[in-house]
């Protein structure tokens, strides 16, 4: 009952009332780890607006960043790997809570072939949402477009370690397990579905605070727009391909309350993905490719992000 804020509608299998077509649409671009210039750590809370789940997700991100201040300074390749446990749980009829805890393993190789690896727990995030629009009762199967609007907020806790040595100078300051700070998130999601089609939009803003090393990562906007269609292959199997756009905008970092040069910037992505559903299981894969970017005055470049997840609806 709690799992079905929305009813599946206008599809071939209307009896699947708890299996909703709002898959993998919201929070996709929410960037929880560092957000300090492109470290989009989690790619967010992925699965749909209304199925409750626990799951595991792998996220791989590739960056390159300039090791030096000059135009001919060498580029360094950075690989960010994250496995996160995540879930979504309803509280009553109108509230829901998202939680995630990442584990990171990041590595990079400098021009002199020395390698640096950091491993460990990242920053845990808890977000609570309120459903602004009243939900259609489960029993009603509507053929009209359905809207959903959620607003919420949350915290990102400094459970990941922050190493001041890694922020120095010219290499990507986001090479961290966490921001080392308590950060606050304001979020809004909007979704509309009609028949097997869906469109979702999200906007969130992360307010960061100064950490114990007097470093303050810049506040961050995330925006995303996704569209998707669900194909039912059998009563228990469905496929939901999706395509979308996302953006991340970072304000400049500060250290000891002084602006850090060559920080901040923005990146815009195209996103492609597909989620396969079988009974209570959801298996998803998605990829984000940058369309345009200017991070850290061009000194950090996102190459791509991929994500793979397995969720179990509860």
């Amino acid at each position: 009952m709690l799992g079905g804020f929305f009813t599946a509608q206008a599809n071939d299998f209307p009896e699947e009332t708890t299996e909703c077509i709002w898959k993998n649409t919201a929070y996709e671009y929410f960037c929880d780890t560092c957000g300090c210039g492109g470290n989009g750590g989690s790619m967010g809370f992925g699965t749909g607006l209304n199925n409750n789940f626990v799951g595991l997700r792998y996220i791989g991100q590739k960056y390159r960043s300039r090791d030096g201040i000059f135009d001919n300074s060498p580029w360094i390749n950075e690989n960010f790997n994250t496995v996160q446990a995540w879930g979504k749980f309803p509280i009553g009829n109108r509230f829901l809570v998202n939680a995630l805890l990442p584990y990171h393993s990041h590595n990079r190789t400098f021009a002199d072939n020395t390698e640096q690896t950091i491993n460990g727990i990242g920053d845990a995030t808890v977000l609570a949402y309120y459903n602004v629009l009243r939900q259609t009762p489960d029993s009603v199967i509507s053929i009209k477009p359905q809207h959903a609007l959620q607003i919420g907020g949350g915290v990102k806790m400094p459970t990941g370690s922050f190493d001041a040595a890694n922020i120095e100078g010219s290499v990507n300051p986001s090479f961290q397990l966490g921001t080392g700070s308590w950060d606050y998130i304001l979020a809004a999601n909007y979704g509309i579905t009609h028949r097997n089609w869906g469109l979702s939009a999200l906007l969130n803003y992360t307010i960061k605070t100064e950490n114990s090393k007097n470093y303050l990562f810049g506040n961050q906007w995330n925006v995303a727009l996704n569209t998707y269609k669900t194909y039912y292959l059998s009563p228990s199997v469905s496929l939901t391909p999706q395509i979308g756009l996302g953006g991340e905008i970072f304000e400049k970092n500060q250290e000891f309350s002084l602006t850090v040069p060559d920080t901040g910037g923005e990146v815009y992505f195209a996103r492609f993905g597909v989620e396969a559903n079988y009974n209570r299981y959801a298996l998803g894969i998605s990829s984000m490719l940058p369309i345009s970017q200017n991070l850290n005055k061009g000194k950090v470049e996102v190459k791509n992000r991929v994500s793979l997840y397995l969720n179990i609806n509860i």
């Binding site: 201040i69 000059f70 001919n72 309803p90 509280i91 120095e168 290499v171 090393k213 850090v260």
Partner: protein, 268 residues
């Protein structure tokens, strides 16, 4: 299931409260004590890193240079804080040679009093006052200068700048050596210059904080700065009444501050 939700709610509320107490300190703590200030002189050619001998570049006079040596003397450091007060580093300890070939491009100023510093002033070369103290008045610096090819002879004085390499141009098609050695000519011609650079970002000094000021010195400015000096016309510029003052002016304008690292953890 209900109890799970309760736990989540409680966790959420607790975390919000716990976080409220941690963001109160705004970092405006008073700076106390003293510490070192490091100036890193990072040599470039335009916006590219200077790579000795391995790369060449063409300047606005259509001369293509391969630089093999860039040494210069920096001296008489002083730092100005946000209240306009000037801290002058002890003159006897205030002479340094930076050398791209040996990689010693850092100047460490010790025991700088705590403060918020906004600009740095230093000289290029050795001032007449110091030179006129005679050979004994130079202390260890005389040895340092001799070991780094920064002396002609005691009578002729210090080379403030030792800039060498090879070049080609439209008319000089074979790679030809160039040497630009600039200094004061004994006490007859004073080429010592001082520059003051705004730091852009404040440099914070305290018992816990030892900033690094990362400067860039654009070697292209030496011949191709405000004054244009053609190597085709003269490839060895040493004691030249006419050209060395121009080199001195160009050299004084080659410095800029790229950024400042604040804090105490400097690893990279």
């Amino acid at each position: 299931m209900k109890s799970i939700y309760k736990i989540f709610t409680v966790t959420l509320i607790l975390s919000v409260f716990a976080s409220c107490s941690s963001d109160d300190d705004d970092g405006s703590t008073e700076l106390m004590g003293e510490n070192s200030v490091t100036l890193e002189f990072d040599n470039s050619v335009g916006s590219d890193d200077l790579l000795l001998a391995t790369s060449s570049y063409t300047n606005s006079q259509n001369e293509t240079l391969t630089i093999t040596r860039l040494n210069y003397i920096v001296s008489n450091f002083s730092l100005t804080n946000d209240a306009g007060e000037v801290f002058t580093y002890d003159k006897d300890d205030s002479y340094f040679v930076t050398s791209e070939e040996t990689g010693s491009t850092e100047v460490v100023l010790e025991n700088i009093p705590a403060g918020t510093y906004v600009s740095v002033t230093f000289g290029i070369g050795v001032d007449q006052e110091k030179y006129l103290q005679g050979a004994e008045g130079q202390g260890d610096f005389l040895t340092v200068a001799e070991e780094t090819n920064m002396m002609w002879s005691w009578q002729a004085g210090y080379k403030f700048l030792n800039f060498e390499g090879t070049f080609t141009s439209e008319t000089v098609t074979e790679a030809t050596d160039f040497k630009v050695h600039m200094g004061s000519h004994g006490s007859s011609l004073d080429n010592y210059k001082e520059v003051t650079l705004s730091l852009g970002t404040d440099a914070l000094v305290s018992d816990e904080m030892s900033p690094i000021i990362h400067l860039v010195a654009d070697a292209n400015a030496i011949l191709d700065g405000e004054n244009k000096l053609s190597l085709t016309e003269q490839s060895v510029i040493m004691v030249s009444e006419e050209k060395s003052p121009k080199v001195a002016l160009n050299t004084a304008s080659m410095f800029s501050v790229d950024h400042v690292h604040n804090g105490s953890e400097h690893s990279h």
